[in-house]
């Protein structure tokens, strides 16, 4: 139970009180740089909100999306953010079931990242809807015309899957946090004590409570694991169940899941490397932990690279003219620079992580994290926009040239909102699971 391996073992922490002091101390006093980041991201959120408001007021014409590439960057962003959400549950649930010790200090932040990313992903279908106030039409509720959502449609699958994922991720995250909220409650005074007391739901930490908690946490992990695989599979079927060349492929589900985890892990690096510096968590989120993430990125990068090759091979080997034309156009046509950027960032750059010197270099890890995320964003663009732009009939071919100012504003807003929410989380909730860190250090025993 207490042997959690070297990678997950915090350094320079020997007592439970020291664990509380370090994690909660960072929460109470995050420092000036934190507030600067919060202000910048807050400004970005305002830019995004203004852009969306402008689009609602003027109509979808404010965006540059036109036939045939009707989904533009909005759906690119949607799939990108759903992908980002995936590594959180991978780290918190799948690695928990595999007893991977290095997840201990990063699971909480990754779960928070998941929730914020799904929330932001969920905004994009609404943004793309134009008349956002009619979104309730997709919900299964009785109405006088007996019109129900079509449960045979992958788009309805998607609504069910994403909302389930958001709900389950939130509950998993919150349940995991109950003992830590009680720790804060027991150290706080006044209004803070009341707020954290309310949030901790009266958690006590008796042996019986821990047993029920352990059972629930294990079952949460067991349920979240197939869910994480299913959600991005369902997202991939938004495309794969269509007949558009470039979409209609049987490898989309595993390809999308691997890509999602690839981008999510890269985002974990982007968040954790500055966070450990700002909050002084270098002894908790150790280089060894970041190295484990890097090793997983090598695996997902290889899967993604293999998928790129297989996609093109199948198009050639399958013999379908439209499919062959699509993949040739992808490599040489209007979006070819996006395609090659995606190949380099997602499949070539992660190979550098085979070198230990790079895997253990913080600046290199951060840069690779950024590059992988750029690559994954362009992968979504290439698949979604590129395939729509070059379908069967040359008469209907068309180009989505560039995002409008409104689309840029919304893109900036979405990234800003993500980091803004994460910064708020880091200020008000424990970013590292206190009880799990306590489990990872030696138990206090007299005479030892």
């Amino acid at each position: 139970m207490h042997d959690t391996g070297q990678a997950g073992r915090p350094k320079d922490l020997t007592t439970y009180a020291a664990v509380d002091d370090q994690i909660l101390g960072a929460m109470w006093n995050p420092g000036g740089f934190y507030w600067l980041c919060l202000a910048i991201t807050g400004l970005g959120v305002l830019i995004g909100a203004y852009s969306w408001g402008f689009q609602i007021a003027t109509g979808l014409g404010a965006a540059n999306i036109l036939h045939p590439a009707m989904w533009g960057t909005y759906l690119t962003n949607f799939v990108f953010w759903v992908g980002i959400a995936h590594s959180g549950t991978l780290i918190s649930a799948i690695l928990f079931l595999f007893r991977a010790s290095w997840r201990t200090t990063i699971s909480r932040s990754s779960e928070a990242m998941t929730i914020f990313a799904v929330m932001i992903a969920g905004l994009f279908p609404l943004i793309h809807l134009g008349r956002v106030w009619l979104v309730y039409w997709i919900l299964p509720y009785p109405n006088q015309r007996n019109l129900w959502p079509n449960f045979q449609s992958p788009l309805v699958f998607d609504v069910v899957a994403i909302s389930t994922y958001l709900t389950v991720s939130f509950l998993f995250w919150y349940t995991g946090m109950l003992p830590d909220l009680a720790t804060i409650r027991d150290r706080a005074e006044g209004l803070k004590k009341r707020i954290y007391g309310f949030l901790s739901l009266g958690w006590q930490g008796s042996s019986d409570s821990w047993r029920h908690y352990g059972t629930a946490y294990l079952l949460f992990a067991a349920l979240a694991t197939p869910l994480v695989v299913s959600v991005h599979s369902v997202v991939s079927w938004d495309f794969a169940l269509g007949i558009v060349p470039g979409w209609h492929s049987t490898i989309f589900a595993p390809y999308f899941v691997a890509g999602a985890i690839h981008s999510g892990l890269a985002m974990v690096l982007i968040l954790l490397i500055p966070m450990r510096k700002i909050f002084g968590f270098e002894n908790l989120i150790t280089i060894e932990v970041l190295e484990q993430i890097a090793k997983t990125i090598i695996l997902t990068g290889l899967i993604v690279g293999y998928s790129y090759v297989v996609e093109h091979f199948m198009a050639w080997y399958g013999g379908g003219k439209a499919e062959q034309a699509q993949y040739m156009w992808r490599m040489t046509g209007y979006y070819s620079w996006c395609f090659w950027l995606m190949v380099i960032c997602n499949a070539v750059v992660p190979i550098l992580l085979f070198f230990k010197a790079i895997r253990t270099n913080l600046a290199a890890l951060f840069a690779i994290g950024v590059l992988v995320n750029i690559g994954m964003w362009f992968e979504r663009l290439v698949i979604i926009v590129g395939s729509e732009a070059h379908e069967y009939d040359p008469y209907s071919w068309g180009i989505y040239k560039y995002p409008s100012l409104v689309e840029w504003g919304i893109l900036i807003g979405s990234f800003s909102l993500f980091f803004f929410l994460f910064l708020l989380f880091a200020k008000f909730l424990p970013t590292i699971a206190i009880t799990e860190v306590k489990e990872a250090i030696p138990v206090p025993v007299r005479g030892k």
Partner: protein
């Protein structure tokens, strides 16, 4: 309501807590609760509790109900749509798998959470009087309900077994 007498022993070290549990058991004194700042298998074993609680049956119930809900929703809404398209039957089987699977997970998670809350009697507004805030930080605790006659011996026993502090409380 008549108040109960409680003795709380606070321990800084796990090995002493475990020997205190053994000592109390040897004296046939019933332990009401053992507190710890995190999950510790040795405490669970010393208390003779099984690794998994009854919460799993809540999950199973939720999983079954969730699957049925997903299947019912997909089939019911299909039946409401009276147009036969392309000669296909109105009630599809294969696409039903997705809502059935998603609802299976969703409702199972709701029931798991409900199980956790019910079994732990949460949410609760007030903590018991014997609760010490150090239990969530760096101390272990043993709670024994006692009568006026045996409070003193229980307190002495806890002290002799390594408790750094023993308190008697009415609650």
């Amino acid at each position: 309501m008549k108040k109960k007498l409680v003795v709380v022993g606070i321990f800084p070290y796990l090995n002493e807590l475990l020997s205190a549990i053994e000592g109390l058991k040897k004296e046939k004194i019933s332990i009401s609760k053992v507190y710890s700042p995190m999950r510790i298998e040795e405490i669970r074993e010393a208390m003779g509790e099984t690794p998994l609680g009854p919460g799993r049956f809540f999950t199973l119930t939720g999983a079954i109900l969730g699957s049925l809900t997903g299947i019912f929703l997909a089939w019911y809404t299909s039946i409401q749509w009276h147009f036969i398209v392309g000669g296909k039957p109105p009630v599809p089987v294969i696409p039903t798998v997705i809502p059935a699977f998603e609802f299976f997970i969703l409702i199972a998670v709701f029931f798991t959470l409900a199980g956790l809350l019910i079994l732990n009697r949460m949410p609760r507004r007030r903590l018991p009087a014997h609760y010490d805030k150090r239990f969530s930080q760096d101390r272990f605790g043993i709670v024994v309900h006692c009568t006026a006659d045996n409070c003193e011996p229980v307190s002495n026993l806890l002290e002799s077994l390594g408790a750094e502090e023993v308190r008697r409380i009415e609650e």
